[in-house]
Symmetry: C14
Subunit: 89 residues, 14 copies
């Protein structure tokens, strides 16, 4: 049942590595936004809107990885056969 082993490893690493990078990325963006608001509080509205757009786009990257991880765990076409084979093992 190496297939199942591979799929859970891949799912775990995919979401882990993606969250790693996106977390740093969002941190960089957030850091820039914080500095921006403090330097020019009147622009806080515009900064907030753009920050949310940017964070959402980074979030989407991580969600792609989450989707792949969920597919690997629940919806991969070979999963059923593998679990059945495990059952009848």
């Amino acid at each position: 049942m190496e297939f199942l082993v591979g799929s859970v490893w891949a799912a775990g690493l995919a979401i882990g590595i993606a969250a790693f990078g996106c977390g740093i990325g969002q941190g960089l963006g957030l850091s820039g936004a914080m500095s921006g608001i403090s330097r020019n509080p009147e622009a806080a509205g515009k900064i907030q809107v753009n920050m949310l757009i940017g964070l959402a786009m980074i979030e989407s990257l991580c969600i792609y990885a989450l989707v792949v991880a969920l597919i690997l765990m629940y919806a991969h076409p070979a999963l059923k056969g593998a679990i059945a084979a495990l059952g009848g093992h």
Copy 2:
């Protein structure tokens, strides 16, 4: 029972790596916010609100990984069969 081994490894690494990256990311954002408040304390309200939004979004990335880790440990469709097989081993 390699499947169980793989799933616990994947769960541990997923949450570990994700927490690693998100921790640094939140640290970067927090650092920026701290500098911001000290430079312009009157903008502290706006900065705090946006900081919380940003930290929450980074937190969410790590929670995705936590969810995947929990699924790998409790809810993966192949888990039951594997534990049963372990019992009847």
Copy 3:
């Protein structure tokens, strides 16, 4: 069924690594944009347009990886045979 194992590993790592890098990249771009708007709020419109173009191009890089990951999981020409072989194993 090593082929299936390899394809799920590859799918997971492809999207994970790509999201990692693109997340940091978008974070760098976002950070620059945030600083830019705060320094010169009147240029916010131009900055926003260009930021979106740039983020979209980085997003596209990650989507390439997502496409490859999906192909590896659903549309690779050898996948059918492998799943069938798994079924009749």
Copy 4:
């Protein structure tokens, strides 16, 4: 009993890597807060409150990993069977 080996490895690495990253993250945030207070001691109250919020959120990331590590060591559904099997080995 590879399962037990895998779970203790995963538990150790999960908490180790998470503490690694969160430690650096908290250090970055703390560093920013220290600079902030020295530049503007009157804002120390606001900075302290926000610093605590931020550190607590980073702490939470590490606690997720701790929870996963504890589950892997005490509450994983396959653990009982594995220990019993080890006993009756």
Copy 5:
């Protein structure tokens, strides 16, 4: 069928690593452009044109990797034989 395993691994890593680097590269370029426009909004037109040229060239690097990945999955001269061999396995 190690060949198929190798080709899917290679395809996944090629696009993943390429997207990683190009994503950071585009982020650096985008960050520079954002700063540039905010400092000198009147030069926004020239900056935008050159930014697009640069991003397109970085994009092209990633597309080379995408092309290689697609070749590895669909058009490699040894692929047909390998899939046939898998079928008649």
Copy 6:
């Protein structure tokens, strides 16, 4: 007795990696505090209090890892069986 091998490895790496990261984190925080006190010695009291809070929180991260390491060495539920098995080997 692979279980015992795994648990001592995991214990060693957990505390080692955690101390690595927390050491750097505390160093960053300490560095910021030192700069802060020298720039504004009158704020030394506030800085010291907050520095201690921050260092304590980073310390706690490392203590989580220490706790996990100690559990792995003394209190893991499978440890007794494994040592007994080793004795009766």
Copy 7:
């Protein structure tokens, strides 16, 4: 048929790693050019010409790797024999 496995791995990694580095390199160059144009828009023509020369030279590095990857996939002198051997396997 390890040769084919090796050649597809090598092709994938060659283009992947090369695109990684060249992407960052072009990003650095692009970032410098963007800053340059904004600081001195009148020099935009000269900067653009030199930027294109530089990006083209970095592009050429990646194309070398692409050429090697294509040779490995289509024109390596041992490839024919290997595919034939795979067919008659």
Copy 8:
């Protein structure tokens, strides 16, 4: 006697990696303190006290790892059995 091998490896790596990170951390803190004293020699007393507190806390992290290393070498509950087994081998 793999257990003994694992425990000495783990002991060595634990103290090695911990000393690595804490050494850099203390260096960062020391560097900040040195700059601080030179900028404001009158605050040298306060800086020295806080520097010692900070260095001591980083030292404690490394001592945790040292304790774990010593336990692994002298006090691990499975050590006696393993050495006896080695003797009667």
Copy 9:
């Protein structure tokens, strides 16, 4: 036929790693040149000449690697024998 496997791996990694480093190197040089021209457009001629010399020298490093890769694929003295052996396998 491990020799052929080794030579294609080596060829791919040689050009890949070399292009990686040279790409970053050329990017650094290009970035410096861009900043230089914008700061002092009148020196653009001298800068351009020297930039081309520098980029050409970095290019030459990568071409060395390309030459080695091509030798490994086409002109290595052991290649003929290996291919012949593959044919008569």
Copy 10:
């Protein structure tokens, strides 16, 4: 006699990695002290005292690793048995 192999590896790596990190740490501290003395030579006495305290603490970290390495080579409780076993091999 894998135990002896493991212990010499562990001893070598422990002191090597520890010296690596502590060397960089001492370098950072030294660098800060040098800058400090040049900026404010009158504070050289205080800086020297604190620099020595700091360097000594970093030195102590490395000495912990040295102690562990020496224990692994001379005083580990399982060492005698292992050497005797080697002699009577």
Copy 11:
């Protein structure tokens, strides 16, 4: 014929890693020279001469690696025997 495999691997990695480092090194030097000429165009002659000396010395490092790679491929004393052995395999 592991010797041939080892020698081609070593040749490829030697030139690849050397070109990697020297490429970055030349890029750093070139970047410094470019900045230098733009800041002080009248010193361009001296800078150019020294830049060429420096780049040539870095180039020489890479050529050492190239020489070693060529020796490994053409002139290693054990190469003839190995190729002959391959022929008579």
Copy 12:
């Protein structure tokens, strides 16, 4: 005779890694000292004395590793038996 293999590996890596880190550390310290002397040549005496103290302490770290390497090669208690065993092999 794996013990001898392990000891030479460990000796080589110990001194290699230690020299790596200490070399960078001494370089950092030296760099700081050079800047210091140029900024304030009158403090050159004090800087030189402290620089030598610092470099000597870093040197000592590397000498610890050298001592361990020499012990591993000449004075390890198990070495004699291993060499004798090699002779009587």
Copy 13:
């Protein structure tokens, strides 16, 4: 004949890694020299002399590695026996 394999690997990696580091080191030194000459062209003579001394010392480090690589390929005392053994294989 693993000895020959090991020696060519070691020779290739030794010169490759050494050239990598020394290339970056010389680049750093060259970069500093270039900046120095442009800032103060009248000191170009002194800078050039010292730059050459420094580059020569870095060059010497790489030549040590080259010497070791050549010894490994031509003059190692065990080489003759190994080649002879290969011939009489």
Copy 14:
């Protein structure tokens, strides 16, 4: 004859890694010295003397590694037996 393999690997890596680190270290020191002379040419004599002391100390680190490498290749106590054993193999 794994011992000989291990010793040549260790010799190569020891000198390679040491040269890597010391090269970067000397580069840092050289860079600082170059900047120093250009800023204050009158202090060139003092800077040169101290630079040479510093570079010589870094050089010594690398020479330690060279000595270890030479011992591993020529003077290790087990070397003779191993070569003799190789001859009589």
